[in-house]
């Protein structure tokens, strides 16, 4: 049976897919979700905020600036039970569900949004082939969505996310950092706990060359020390974990 909202859903998806500016996408998306009682949109790529500044990733939000600044300054995303839940969820869920696994700090992160009048909401994870790449979080006050409403909002959320990523990307953190084969090789051994002397012996090069290679890789990755370089290379899947 065709849903009573079908024209509204397809109209929003077509409008978003044909939109030429991010502002148009946001406007169409806001109008659509408002019908379901959502007053706030916050969508973006889910990446480690301690490693990638928010300015370098896709984030589109209608949350109050003050709330965004506070979350950004304190790395709240890393404690946010809603975002953490999205990383391992196959389906959308209501924010309150995330309180089941929230830490004390995580509860404060959620409470903080409530202080700004964003009391209830749903999050829609955006999946790629092997993982969750981002999420669309929609907030409001008194929400009452049926199962079919939820599916329809999910579809339009996915369309908005894809089009915004398309229009606003690629993002700096997505740009390729080309580690040379030698740099990747050296960091791979550093990740296995080998010293510069060990790595030099394995690769039949001078220890000083190993050190210089690691420094060169660190400069490319923008990392501060050996551990940070190894962790970043693993996080970006440049070497085997």
């Amino acid at each position: 049976m065709i849903s009573k909202n079908s024209e509204r859903v397809l109209g929003a998806i077509r409008g978003i897919q044909n939109a030429e500016t991010s502002g148009d996408v946001q406007r169409i998306f806001s109008d659509f979700v408002e019908f379901f009682g959502f007053t706030h949109i916050h969508l973006g790529q889910l990446v480690n905020p301690a490693n990638v500044p928010q300015s370098d990733i896709l984030v589109v939000s209608t949350w109050p600036d003050e709330l965004l600044t506070r979350r950004s300054e304190r790395y709240d995303l890393m404690h946010d039970p809603v975002a953490l839940g999205a990383l391992r969820s196959k389906r959308p869920f209501r924010w309150q569900k995330a309180m089941e696994w929230a830490t004390r700090r995580g509860q404060k992160v959620v409470d903080q949004a409530r202080d700004y009048g964003i009391k209830d909401g749903y999050i829609f994870p955006v999946h790629s082939i092997d993982s969750v790449s981002g999420a669309v979080s929609l907030g409001g006050d008194k929400l009452d969505l049926s199962r079919s409403d939820l599916g329809e909002v999910e579809l339009v959320s996915l369309a908005a996310y894809a089009q915004l990523e398309n229009l606003l990307g690629p993002f700096p953190y997505q740009r390729l950092v080309d580690l040379s084969v030698r740099e990747a090789e050296v960091i791979q051994f550093a990740a296995a706990g080998k010293t510069n002397r060990d790595i030099a012996a394995i690769l039949n090069i001078q220890p000083d060359t190993v050190n210089k290679t690691i420094l060169r890789a660190a400069a490319k990755l923008g990392t501060l020390n050996r551990a940070h370089t190894v962790a970043t290379a693993i996080a970006k899947n440049m070497i085997f974990a």
Binding site: M1, I2, S3, S6, V9, L10, I13, R14, Q17, Q45, V47, K90, R91, V126, H127, S128, I129, D130, S131, S133, S148, G151, E152, E154, L155, L158, A162, P170, Y173, Q174, L176, V177, K236, N237, F240
Partner: protein, 218 residues
Amino acid sequence: MYQTITPENRAEHTETIESMHRNRYDVCVRQWGWHIPGIEPGYDKDQFDTRHTVYITVTDPNLRKVVASTRLNPTTEPHMLSELFADYCTLQPYPQRADTWECSRYVIDRTLYNDPVKEFKIRCNLGIGMTQYCIDNGITQLSWLTHQRLFNLARRVWVTEPLGAPVRDTPDGWAWIPAVSKINRATNARQRERLANAEDVVAELIRTNSIRKTSRAA
């Protein structure tokens, strides 16, 4: 490189077809855990493998077997959306037109390769084979029931529109979304460009955690 197996040339490809049905069983039943009623053990061939069906296959010359395949059926004949999943189409009716065919069993054996670039090239070849067949035969749309992860991926290549809301009725909890994708020369060009730049595209997908660096299943 892909092969296109049509009702007209099917007799020349009997070994490939056999290999494809076995590979489909390996992936769909053994790896994905599907229960497909009425098929023989080790061999996935069901009521939608018909005399009208067109197959696109990719064979690995080293492994000497089909490692990826898909099947295309005309929507003017009984097909999966019309016979099994019509109730999934809650936003618009499934198309039944001569210029719209249904894609199903879009299968790539991801356990065979450690190299994500190689796997990506196989996926590209399969997609290009499918699009090329459509362009050569006046097919402008493909309908399909997509896994939610494939739905997001399909968007990167084809202009894709849902036919219904996501349905989560399988034990693994993943959603299935009926959808229709537009096929045209621009689609084909985009696919060929992605294949030509496979290393860069895969590098970006890895950087954004969209795919794993190693594709072989644990």
